[in-house]
Symmetry: C2
Subunit: 138 residues, 2 copies
DNA sequence: TTTATTGCAAAACGTTTGCAGAATT
DNA sequence: AATTCTGCAAACGTTTTGCAATAAA
């Protein structure tokens, strides 16, 4: 149980709690979970955990650089592990599925924006809406 | 005052009201306004207009294809005219500025997603986060 | 023992809804 | 006159906050 981020927490004066471990596990398991979904997942193990603890924990974990969030359409923000390989999100309007693809797909875009506008793209936060292969044929 | 969309409205059994005109004007003026901002803008001319009317009107205007909305980061959805040339949004994390650029910048991305994943990109809804030229040098 | 963290309840925020009165047709 | 539209107030779902009790250090 001596996970590396435990020391990280203590070093900064924070404490390691069951709730914090469970939230991190839920984020890992769900891959793209909203706070609500993460709460439900956590409560499968520990019923008493309150939604406000989920919010506070997510904020802390994000601040520590352990998780990140993205905005996928209308829905509440979704959280994922920061240690996951960087990826671009493809959101299908048909089925709502979220696909992770390599940031390499955005190379052309990134280069153009850099050259033409002097704009530095945050590729990790890129979300592309559209229709996936399955939903186009259906 | 015989604007083309007036007939469009009446033809569908809707009515032309001052509120609806004001909302459309506010959307035009603000370029990327949230419902709240649009409400404030409208109220500069007509004080009594209620926020719920703003929401209902935006929904209607969007349904009629006169306006569109996009999700720009944390903030509530922002609305813009549908008749504006299609564009990709660049959102600067530094100053919060929203830039509109030609969809052509996304050609490389669109092609790769099409070929590699069979994914049909909705370019008009593409938002890219990053840092603009000004904020990079500052 | 100290003090960060939690659960709870209440507040805050953006958005939606029901309804009676006002306005457009 | 008929019916859509508006303003108001209340409800809603999500997120934040204050606080006393709990638990990690």
């Amino acid at each position: 149980m001596a996970e590396p981020w435990h020391e990280e927490l203590r070093a900064r004066g924070y404490r390691v709690t069951p709730q914090r471990q469970l939230v991190l596990e839920a984020v890992t398991a769900l891959r793209h979970g909203t706070p609500e979904e993460i709460c439900t997942e956590v409560q499968r193990t520990a019923r008493g955990v309150n939604i406000s603890t989920i919010y506070r924990t997510l904020e802390l974990l994000e601040q520590l650089g352990l998780v990140k969030h993205t905005h996928l359409g209308h829905k509440p923000p979704t959280y994922h592990l920061a240690t996951e390989a960087d990826h671009v999100h493809l959101v299908c309007r048909g089925c709502g599925e979220v696909y992770d693809v390599t940031p390499a797909v955005a190379k052309g875009l990134v280069d153009v924006l850099e050259q033409e506008y002097g704009f530095e793209t945050d590729v990790q936060h890129l979300t592309v809406y559209g229709r996936c292969r399955d939903c186009r044929t259906t």
